[in-house]
Symmetry: C3
Subunit: 308 residues, 3 copies
Amino acid sequence: MSLRLRHLTTLEHLPRESIERLLDRAVMLRDACAHGTRKLDQLAGRTVLNLFFEPSTRTRTSFELAARRLGADVINFDIGLSSTSKGEELFDTLHTLEAMHLDAIVVRHKQSGTPEELVRHAMSGVSVINAGDGNRAHPTQGLLDVLTIRQHRPDFSKLVVTICGDVEHSRVARSDVHALTALGAKEIRLCGPASLMPAAGELPQCQRFEDFDQAIAGADAVIMLRLQKERMSDTELPDETAYFRHFGLDKRRLAMAAKGCLVMHPGPLNRGIEIASEVADGAQSRILEQVGNGVFVRMAVLSEMLAR
Amino acid sequence: MSLRLRHLTTLEHLPRESIERLLDRAVMLRDACAHGTRKLDQLAGRTVLNLFFEPSTRTRTSFELAARRLGADVINFDIGLSSTSKGEELFDTLHTLEAMHLDAIVVRHKQSGTPEELVRHAMSGVSVINAGDGNRAHPTQGLLDVLTIRQHRPDFSKLVVTICGDVEHSRVARSDVHALTALGAKEIRLCGPASLMPAAGELPQCQRFEDFDQAIAGADAVIMLRLQKERMSDTELPDETAYFRHFGLDKRRLAMAAKGCLVMHPGPLNRGIEIASEVADGAQSRILEQVGNGVFVRMAVLSEMLAR
Amino acid sequence: MSLRLRHLTTLEHLPRESIERLLDRAVMLRDACAHGTRKLDQLAGRTVLNLFFEPSTRTRTSFELAARRLGADVINFDIGLSSTSKGEELFDTLHTLEAMHLDAIVVRHKQSGTPEELVRHAMSGVSVINAGDGNRAHPTQGLLDVLTIRQHRPDFSKLVVTICGDVEHSRVARSDVHALTALGAKEIRLCGPASLMPAAGELPQCQRFEDFDQAIAGADAVIMLRLQKERMSDTELPDETAYFRHFGLDKRRLAMAAKGCLVMHPGPLNRGIEIASEVADGAQSRILEQVGNGVFVRMAVLSEMLAR
């Protein structure tokens, strides 16, 4: 028996059973919605607060939709306009929000570790859900990625996944690796320019490649990462044409992967930089399926945490 | 039998029956609300997303109220804070939102034609509603204007309407002309400085005037347009005092119109530039009636599109 | 019998019965929520609009939560993005919002007196609630402060309260004084540097101190004010170290107050400037209780105004 989830800050060390239970719950919720149920009332009377210190309308909207479809109220705490501009400290904000009796705080912050700090300082029964912290973790993205893969390749013991691009700056890559590892994926390959790879020793369960042709050979799924220009200094920024030539996914490269290889990307796309439109919009693309699954995975997380 | 509306991007070529059906539905909804029903549940479980690339709290609020009064959930997709600042393309945003299973997207964009482009690229059952694109169309404003006129002057075959001001930059004027034309208005007059009139050949069903005294003579309704300073270059900007003298509506000019001539303006007002306060706040002003009708017209559009 | 509240712009001249009725209602609502009722439907179908011209996520969120827990819809009218940037006048905005049939407008504005101006210009049945205007009034803060005090010190005839800090720029201080006066507090003391005290003659019911040690001696509650740096000119700004030495609350000073003296602060805190962390986070601190009471007081105000 595994315990009910109280917070979700990272997938690292989350047991396989917990991840599978969340994925199963997401599938149940997707089925319920497919059969015409547009809105559930599991979370009626509950309040979820979006606390985004980095802008991200896509992820915020996905969480907002997930919460509302379960009947919860959603408050967007807009930090751009907030009293933090008056110097209020993060933990005072947390305690203030707790004192207002919120049920969950969905937090995104450019500083790695912020969600754990919130958990450590939380005084009440509030749940903290990480919507992305620095380059560290983006657990609901990891969950939606393995859910998308599982639909098409249910046997992870045979699964080869290639994650390509700016791995170092990618919290998506880290959460994907943790989820894939927990579910027993056969092989996880990381590929990217040496300057954009994580430090040696990090993610030891993965094989590393600098040659994308080698990395994609025989892969069942390829997860292309967004070049996070906004997190790089000018000198770190690669030349885009050269980047695409070496690390971009196009038809020619996709043909080297296993038949029917799933094409994935967390979005938003840099078309022509990390991925060619012919592939992003092609028959093997699962990118929009990922987006759809994102709402159901977030419903599953909120439901497990907050439903009575 | 006319088809149920799927999208609403412009009133041009919309058949008279469709427009009248929407107006009748707006009146029904207004009556329901007047009899104490504060909230309907026609759209329970539906989600409407406001996608505003141009700021407009008034129109956004009107759509938000309309959707909520029908029981729908509303998401404000705030572009200022959004991932488009990370270079995401419009159509990727559209497809991402579609993958989240939204029911309708209300879009405002400074580029004329954007709503049609969204319709062309939409892959799912989502409905697109134009809340104003460039200087091209603002269909719900056109509908609320003819609804307001119809309440007071039901016989359009005798109706003379004068539209005065910055016609060239006005999507309101174009949608008004299309709605009035469809409903068989007797005479539509456009008036403004030559530099702010649309190209010769556009809107051929209208008479054109440079002299406001002539244009307003005998009119049953006068629609004053907002001087769209924010869409003009510095050299286009007229001198405000001279503009008011030639094209502003005051008591003296209103007296030349037909008895009880309706005074209308889409808001927000530039008092003393296109309209004098004595007239904007006077007994013949229908400006706040327009605002009230705006909510009901938007309820009607959403209801026709999304109710089961 | 006292009349039902229609607007709430200030606590000045509000009769004791009205204040007590609001506090009693807040307690009832708090009890209802404590017994598991997460959401009431008193205000189903009602719409509350937040019209904040000054940023304040905390207060806005508190009002939003209060309204939603009563079943109302909430619209955030974001002025930063709004048509006021196109020059629309305040009263035109008011009338536009009224024409959309809103039930209450919660307004914050840096100009003292704005809420009263809205009340004067309102044409419909809309209720206006002041969420802070200039340095003049913040009535729901005053109510939540006396509610917090009443829980611990129910007999106001014996109550000594010290309000310390930047009294001149503080709407909180003024609303606190009015509430405490109405409820018959025995003694209200104001303390702060001469340059930050209100003009002689204002708040004549209070005693004034420049020495915080004297002001706090024997106090049952001490309300520390936020140094409103954002409302001061550079020359007005005190040196922070000196300020803390003279007017900051620390353990040593708190020991001079009556036993169990309540420590209060409207937030957000400037730690180390007006209050030491050892006291803000100490056993006598009621700061988070204030935040929690804030939601219930705002529910009480909305409920009295809008429930049928």
